[in-house]
Amino acid sequence: MNRIAPALAFLLCTLLSTKSTNAQDLSKVIIDLELKEATLAEAFTKIESLTSFRFTYKTEDIAGVKGISFRLRQVSVKKVLILLLGGTPLHYEQSKGYILIKKISRSSSRGVTLYGFVTTGQSGETLTGATISISGEKTYFTTTNTYGFYSLTVPPGTYLFNCSYIGLTDLDKTIDLQETSRNNIELAGKENNDLQAVVVATASNKSIIRRPVTGSHRLDMAEIKKIPMAGGEPDVLKSLQFLPGIQTSNEGTTNLSVRGGSYDQNLVLLDEAPVYNPTHTLGFFSAFNTDAIKDVAIYKGVFPTQYGGRLSSVIDVRMKEGNSKEQTVSGGIGLLASRLTYEGPIIKDRSSFMISGRYSNIGALMNMSQNFHYLNVHTTDSRVAFYDLNAKVNPILGSKDRLYLSAYTGHDNFFLDLIDGSSRMKWGNTTLSARWNHVFNPSFFANTSLLYSNYRSSNINLDVGGSYELQSRLREITLKTDMEWMMDPKNLIRFGAGITGQEISPGKIVPIDTNAVAKGVSLKDRRSAQLFAYISNEQRFGTRLSLSYGVRATGFAALGDAMVYRYNADTSAVIDSTHYGKGKIVKAYFGAEPRVTARLLLTNTSSIKVSYGRNYQFQHLLTNSSVGLPTDIWMPSDAWFKPQYSDQFAAGGYKTFLNGTYEGSVELYYRKSYNIIDFRDNAEIFLNDKIETQILTGQAKGYGLEFLLKKNKGASNGWISYTYSKSLRQIDGINKNQWYPANYDHRHNLSLVYNQMVSRRLSFSANWVYRTGGHTTIPVGSYVFNGNRFLYYSTRNGYTMPPYHRLDLSVTLQGRRNERRKWQGEWVFSVYNVYNRKNIFALYTRQDALDFSDVKASMVYLVGILPTLSYNFKF
């Protein structure tokens, strides 16, 4: 007993002291409160009678606040105060057990800044595009930048602070802002790659309403992973195709056509470094391993000024930083690909690393399936394989500096008799990004990046006459810096500048056999440099109108060494040539891109936006197939290839319903592009050093109407998107100089994405797509010329293919939750193309070998019904 007594006393003291500290914590004192037509003074008296808090205020300050009626059960005093003072010109200050109620001083234009980083509580990943709002008399709003940083300058006072991010639990708190302060936020709740899906999805719904940006979407990995995909392999780029205005440029592939643009007009960035061929397996997979990716944002036309270099879209993919709380291993085993990721802290809560790999060997599968006659593949030596590796390290250098180092490499090996038995292709990307964040002061953020991208491809020709390898390569390096300056509560200025150097080896032949007919030949490297700078301001006018305006300027120079030819009128013969020495400027271009967006808030939950933007692109992709092959060559602008540019107008209406459960938008766009290219009929492009003679230049236009209705919360969620669009081209020398549809011109495009949580462990997903068929050119007859029979074709892209539609389903069953065990597993059973629709991938014609007048048209379809089972795990 004697021994127990001191222990008891200690326990009692501990309990008492806990109680007394809690007694002064506004958020921990819980009360029931009922008020009927009360004045604020009466409300305070009531709280005083229920708690030990005491109020102090100036009588005249609170005199005007009356008629308060509400009934609250089990709420904190803090919440009560927020409710009482919200919408009044009052705020509170706390000093021990005393609560001072004061008028918000309007004495000066003095602003205080609240700033910091937003991360997930679970893994410490920074969150991009998280919504921050500070509400007092007025609401101030911002979103975190790509590094999770935010800064808001407001008049001093007490505010209701809210931070939200899709899929995570909202953070609400009252803040008393008297001086500039750092406020790093950790959002709790469901995490991206957490397999234990407890969906507490709340929408960052204010972002779509308030941001002065049109045509932009952001998809979180959690959303992407829920969408059923072929082979159960979630895909970043294919998921984007379910959004309005974004279509596949070729069925079944990751190549995107955004608002009627061609797929080479999309800038795909991985941690800011451009990825020149973001595909695996000829486009059936994107180059991005979803386990290594944090999120993806797409801008469909009028880009923010920090982006440039392409006409149609910017797809900004961000790698995960790695878990800074604990080490985890996650992975998945699927039919088509398998993944493994290892991440963890280097120093807990300060720095992290992530390494992720993926491997796929479909070829082996195909060779095997030949034995079962499942797929109609008449070969057993197919080789279709790829791998990719992502690695990232993020040391935090101090409270003001952070470094991000990331690397990606992925390679493909492709030989498929079905498509082309005479060549074997290899290709791969490597990117490196080094980025340095620096917070100069609470309202000034800077990032400096050094980016490297390398794309290689080779085509090994297996001709009987002797094998040779055709190699090409692109290398690019960029140094740039981006600044964000929250000048005052009304102006957010972004500016930056950078330089890019690029070197392309368009083609080099390396004989493999000694008896190879081909000799070692090489086209001259093409070098170019770009200097760019931009500035923009996001300015608020009153409470409803916000304007974002800015300009991006780029100077481009094609550099020697180069030979520039001059031709006769029909470019059939060279009449002159000029040689430019190494480093000499062959041709320079300048492009100014004004961009402006206006946003008008109609109500707190609806807005309209109008925007205009011009984009420049100083390179073209030379592709002689509609599919887009890895061997397609990027060609920088030069004396002959003028930079392409486009003008786009977009307008839209945006609305959230039922407290943000639903969000809807309607957008209208019109765009016109200039200096786009296409090949002449029967163009000769193989190792042609006068490629300009095979190219024709023209214009393109497109317009469309896009609808999106999205449900963000609840056990069932998903979206419906519909696009009506038209995309046309006009090139002198093609189709009798008449406008003709682009092959990726789909009139109607409908997508449904649906997810249903059945129980804590079981969920169900479905998606259905329908789109009008694309266009192609088909032979309509044949003729004999000089004793040879040739095909006579329809007008360019004159044939509309049958519509494409497809239903995919998936069921996910999570393993039993066991608190003591770290292992979490889930089974995903998915069926791609459930009703086995034979959608056309390609349409080709072949003349009979013996009788050339006999022409057969064949339709190639890729995947029929494809059931897959995959297993994902994490520990």
Binding site: T56, K58, T59
Partner: protein, 123 residues
């Protein structure tokens, strides 16, 4: 000066002039020119005084400071006469000290509190 009655009946006189006869729950405020002003009050605040709480409901800063001087036996001066007339509500526990009480008054009224040679000044 202020007189408040928690229970019973109290007569308030200035010299021979009867200013008020107060019953339970009433208070009278007597100005220096012996004009007076009666009103109702919450008896709990009087009880609170005994337990260490000082409760001033809609009182002028001048009155509150005068009372605080009496309670804490300290010198407090207010420079600004409009501040003296400002009405505030202040609930306070004596044990938290005069300094803290005056800080709260100055924070509420956006004035400045200084302490020079043991004399508090609010301006």
């Amino acid at each position: 000066m202020m007189v408040a009655v928690q229970s019973g009946k109290v007569k308030v006189q200035a010299g021979t002039k009867v200013l008020a006869v107060l019953e339970k729950g009433r208070q009278v405020r007597v100005a220096s020119d012996t004009t007076s002003n009666q009103r109702d009050l919450d008896t709990s605040s009087i009880a609170a005084w005994r337990t260490g709480s000082l409760i001033y409901k809609d009182e002028t800063v001048g009155d509150i400071v005068a009372d605080l001087q009496r309670v804490f036996k300290d010198s407090i001066s207010i420079k600004n006469s409009s501040l003296k007339r400002t009405m505030i509500t202040l609930s306070f526990n004596k044990n938290d000290g005069l300094q803290h009480a005056l800080e709260m008054i100055s924070r509420t009224t956006d004035s400045r509190l200084t302490n020079r040679n043991g004399i508090f000044t609010i301006e």
